[in-house]
Symmetry: C4
């Protein structure tokens, strides 16, 4: 799966994010297949040696940046998944069998593809590597819900390079991120799947940018489906946007071609709408171009 994402990314020179939970290839293999910028998405484990090991290997494997995820210290209660029986890796239920039967191409890829396992941590723990353990169980057993600012500071110093905190949603936390040595934050509510009633990341961008936009880079994570969404985020003060579901939907629907098509659409929409907004460069794309609904 990530191989195909990569191939799409390769052509468009976008930032490639590797999350240790989702990868089916080793960290060390990524640089062989992607020459673009690479960011490793880290979670703090109860067993700190796992995190240390992942940071060290990321550095040796040529990753450009590190991102520490703080919006998934415990797994959200994804009620929709309870209803559909969705787990990662998938368990077979009557409903999911029906769903698979309707999309034979997906099942074929799953059965013939590489086995899903947490390659990067399987030497360190036997949790989560067994096919019968779901990702949610892994999160709740392995991650450290008591993780605090000290742990984040430890990781930032250990990495000693471009370092983002993912899951920051307030000005207060953005200021603390600067204090512990972060060079960026990803404003994110983890795709809206973690905390019921959390705000949309977009709604927080301007306040955070107004307060600390000159001291660290702000990346909007969540809700981006169109070029205008990117333009709105940049106008509000973000330096970049990241997206997960949009990639995965394109991949599921059209494979590598789907991802490439998505990236071309985004580029076209961004270019066209910059012209239609009358913006000749990113400097002109500032908050004067935004009017908020009252």
């Amino acid at each position: 799966m990530e191989t195909k994402l990569q191939q799409g990314q390769q052509k468009n020179l976008i930032l490639f994010i590797v999350c240790h939970l989702w990868e089916i290839i080793l960290l060390e293999e990524v640089s062989n297949i992607s020459s673009g910028p690479k960011l490793f998405q880290l979670y703090v484990h109860k067993d700190r040696s796992i995190s240390d090991n992942l940071i060290d290997r990321s550095r040796r494997s040529g990753f450009d940046a590190m991102c520490l995820t703080v919006d998934t210290l415990v797994a959200g209660n994804r009620e929709k998944d309870h209803r559909t029986g969705f787990t990662t890796p998938p368990k077979l239920t009557l409903q999911s069998l029906m769903s698979f039967a309707m999309r034979p191409g997906w099942v074929f890829n799953y059965l013939t593809g590489k086995k899903f396992e947490l390659s990067n941590v399987k030497k360190k723990t036997d949790k989560g590597t067994n096919i019968s353990k779901s990702v949610i169980e892994y999160i709740n057993e392995q991650y450290d819900p008591a993780m605090g600012w000290k742990d984040a500071e430890y990781c930032a110093k250990k990495w000693n390079g471009p370092f983002a905190l993912k899951g920051v949603m307030s000005v207060e936390d953005a200021k603390k991120a600067i204090d512990i040595g972060c060079t960026a934050i990803m404003v994110s509510n983890h795709g809206g799947r973690q905390l019921d009633g959390s705000r949309s990341p977009f709604d927080q961008i301007k306040a955070i940018s107004d307060a600390v936009g000159d001291k660290l880079e702000i990346i909007l994570d969540g809700g981006v489906r169109r070029g205008t969404h990117v333009l709105k985020a940049l106008a509000a003060g973000a330096k970049a946007c990241s997206f997960g579901k949009m990639f995965l939907f394109s991949l599921a629907a059209g494979g590598q071609e789907g991802v490439e098509h998505l990236l071309e659409n985004m580029r076209d929409e961004i270019n066209r709408n910059m012209v239609l907004m009358g913006c000749k460069n990113l400097k002109e794309l500032n908050s004067s171009k935004l009017i908020y609904r009252k």
Copy 2:
């Protein structure tokens, strides 16, 4: 019914509220089956000796707190009940017979269970104890719509312990509650069934808490269905939440097991979401965590 509620409550050490209108057991029997904290929910009767009697017996029976209900001086006009023919106790109509026929388990419990009667007041009045009198008729015949602050003060002094006024919805009334000796208020619109167009209790919590939050305890009553609702209420200034429909729905759907499941869900959601909000304790769960929609 209340027996089963109790058993669920027992395991979770939550506050058990006994309303004299709904109970089918005597006040005196409650302490035998529940060792947790107990609050008696009182209504002011036209015949004051009924209220006096209930207060005295509550004290003798080991109740911990008293709550005086001021949002049901007259019965609201529950138009949905007119349409469905719902009364307490139920009268049999063609529509309700159909409804019963679809849920045979409910009817069985009703027919084989304890007879519905107002046990705690049957020595004092023959109104409402006859199976053909509905609760609404009882309210309008027995309760005192002219009840005022003097009556509330009388009850508070007579009880002389933790005393809440239920149905307060404004800062002005919250201040009066302090003046007459209340130690708590329940911000409530009686589940939205009494006064058309009344605000949601949640919308009043912050203003009341800002004004008098340091002088009495604020309990949110109404609209609580999830752990995040509790967290929002606490962040806005409430000290606790109470819920009625949520208990009754769980009880109707799953009996004692249903209530236990509900309470476990609430505990899980509260714990999980505290972590996801980055709150380590209740002090950190303050109004800085809330953003109101404009």
Copy 3:
């Protein structure tokens, strides 16, 4: 029709409004069948002697107050009526025949009832009295769209008693109403049928009351269907509410009994909800009881 309205009104001692356009009885006959307060609703005609005549006859017939309608100088374009073919008096079309066929009781009353004609003006003009002229044509031919403040002042002085202007929607016009001698205004958009995009009368009450509520009486006209609507209007500063469609719907559905039922419902709802709002009298029902949505 008005006879039945009257009978309902008689029992409830409410103000009886007679509009010369709708009546099928002579002004002079009204006092014979209604002993309650009576208000005559006047429109300014191009032929001023018609207005003069109506004012004189109203005085002689014992009317208590006069109301001059300024929201119907031209007939609104009631597009729904174009579609359904509704006119007053009704013209028979295929669609209206179908509609009549479904409600035989209505047709029976129409065919056996008194003939619809503009009794009060038939000596003065042959327009509108012919059964084939619709009320809309009458409005546009007979009323004076150039009517101005001078005309209103003329009527107020000629009447020289309790005098309301109906159709005032702004503070500015309310002030002018005081200047020309009005003792009341009816804040009205003529049931929303005249001017597309006009505000709801309720939304204007508070501003008008704050500005001139101590100098004239404010009557809310439009949108009243429940007792809580009346309480909201009074809390915002109105002295009374008037309703037309609510009467007509009740009359059409249940005849005299329907109107009586409506009035009893309103009285019950007003009484019950005063208690539930904790208001012991009208003085306590002030704007502190209202919170506007933002």
Copy 4:
């Protein structure tokens, strides 16, 4: 098509706007069939001699005003058109064939009418004149997306008469329009078909009028379907309104008669509602008559 529009316009003495992209008659022929005021809608071409030529011919042909379009420097991505297969001129697809089959009158006019070609530019370029080139391709090939304020100033000076900029949406750009010699602006988002998420033109009128309403004329373009829309725009500060879809829908549905009917409706609605608003003249129709939803 434009011939029929003209005939409707002729009777109502409204401004006739000729867009070089849509016309099927030569600029030079317009004055023969319309004696009313005429405005030429210009786009800046990459080949400046095309624009120069159109300006010169407009002047010689008796056009009264020039309007330069700046909201279509690149074609918007009209996704609905992708789905329906709509192009200008139409290409035949299975779906559009079905659509045509349901409306035989439309197809007849198309087949028997004048051939669609860009008459006014066919000597200058062979792009867009070939029946297989769509208008969207023409826009993207011929128009100059790098067009800037210098180009607009050049056109304004070359025309040296009443000159409007179409597509202005901000106070800032309205001020620049004055600086380069414009006498008017058309506040427009090109019917909402160009830039996703752009505001409604109406929402910008008041701010622009407050800032520069005394220095140039403001024309609202977009969203006008009723007389009250025109009255709202004038009250907010516009001097006139223009509409495209409303004309085309009327034309498609009823031909010349449809357009005439539309114009009569608009005149009636404007007159009736001026009376109902209590406005005797345009001066009274100011922003005091508008209340914005909060």
